[in-house]
């Protein structure tokens, strides 16, 4: 636990989320943490979550954009339209980073290095136009930091056509696995390669739009983003 907590971003101590029944894992308990700073760092390093809800008694999981604003998540309505018709919908939001592939001497001890956050709660529609606009800016900046300040803001009609949900960070847990394989001692002399293949996500060279009427140079925030 201490090793994973140390990965959190520097800053004043933020304490922990209180464990709840929904955030107490039934397996691999040693990997779970409720550390707020670590949870924030995992959430802030991504922009795509998997949003789960129940529709007609059945589970539905849809990829959805999100942004964190303090102890709240904003969720984009682009893929959760069925969910967004309701107010006060129970949801589960899960964010996962794959950091490495753990190859052990035995098939059984193969694993994945990952960081994940699971948030349970009740999502509500953001109806106030000013807050909806701020939430949309947060969503744009979650994907490319600085981008919201370099595009035309949504007008009233566009805002009305966009659904944004909010979800409090209250029932929250994170799981982190780091390090190499944990092979049985009896297997360590087997001839198979063992270790970790690091995995990372890379932003490539930006491709200008064909119909761009002005073709500006790549702005600084984008050069830094893809560096």
């Amino acid at each position: 636990m201490s090793a994973t907590t140390a990965d959190a971003t520097a800053g004043p101590p933020l304490g922990s989320y209180p464990p709840a029944a929904s955030t107490t894992p039934t397996r691999a308990r040693e990997r779970v943490t409720y550390d707020r700073a670590l949870v924030h760092s995992i959430l802030d390093a991504a922009y795509l979550c998997h949003l789960g809800f129940v529709a007609d008694g059945r589970p539905v999981v849809l990829p959805t954009l999100y942004a964190r604003d303090g102890e709240r998540l904003y969720l984009h309505g682009s893929t959760g339209a069925r969910a967004l018709r309701h107010d006060g919908l129970p949801v589960c939001v899960t964010v996962t980073h794959v950091d490495g592939l753990v190859l052990a001497k035995s098939a059984f001890h193969h694993s994945i290095n990952y960081r994940s956050v699971v948030v349970h709660g009740t999502a509500r529609r953001v109806t106030d136009p000013a807050r909806a606009r701020a939430a949309l800016d947060s969503l744009v900046n979650a994907v490319v930091p600085g981008r919201a300040e370099d595009c035309r803001p949504a007008n009233a009609k566009e805002l009305a056509a966009t659904a944004v949900l909010e979800l409090d960070l209250a029932e929250v847990s994170a799981k982190v696995r780091v390090g190499g394989p944990h092979d049985d001692p009896a297997d360590l002399e087997l001839p198979h390669w063992s270790g970790v293949v690091p995995v990372r996500t890379v932003n490539g060279t930006p491709l200008p739009a064909e119909d761009d009427g002005t073709r500006p140079e790549l702005p600084r925030y984008l050069r830094e983003f893809v560096a």
Copy 2:
């Protein structure tokens, strides 16, 4: 639709999955496809899904390893322990690749290029030891092709400790977005940069385990995997 279908792997035509209520989107219908070959290619390009199920009436979404075997998915029990206690559990399995960040002149038209598959169905425990072993091999090979043949197979005790679920590919849909931003004509002369930032996942240089007693050279399938 034709552009996305053309992305599917070459081979004999496999036809389409029949649309169901659960796989008919309420939004962005133009991006949906039921093409089997395309669905297979999206599933085969990943190994991590987000598994959704309902527990105590509430949605739960957990990152889970999977592998495709024909018209069936195998799901690893590593994170879905709560689900695995049941036989015949309604689930939703979602796989998402992010391929690019679509930056439009307007905040409203920002988007993501992605390929996703959503599978609805009833997952069942694989209890036959021979099938469980084959499923585990498939899961290992889904992460690193060729790896299952280069490690110690699971023994009876390990097999008993590992839960594998199977899920038929019957209620299946895919969604694909490709291409640049779709800006309003009136916005095309705005000075903001517009276009696509490609996103890809990269496997880095493998790091040998510190306690590896034999330190073999990197095998060929791993050299090709990280190339």
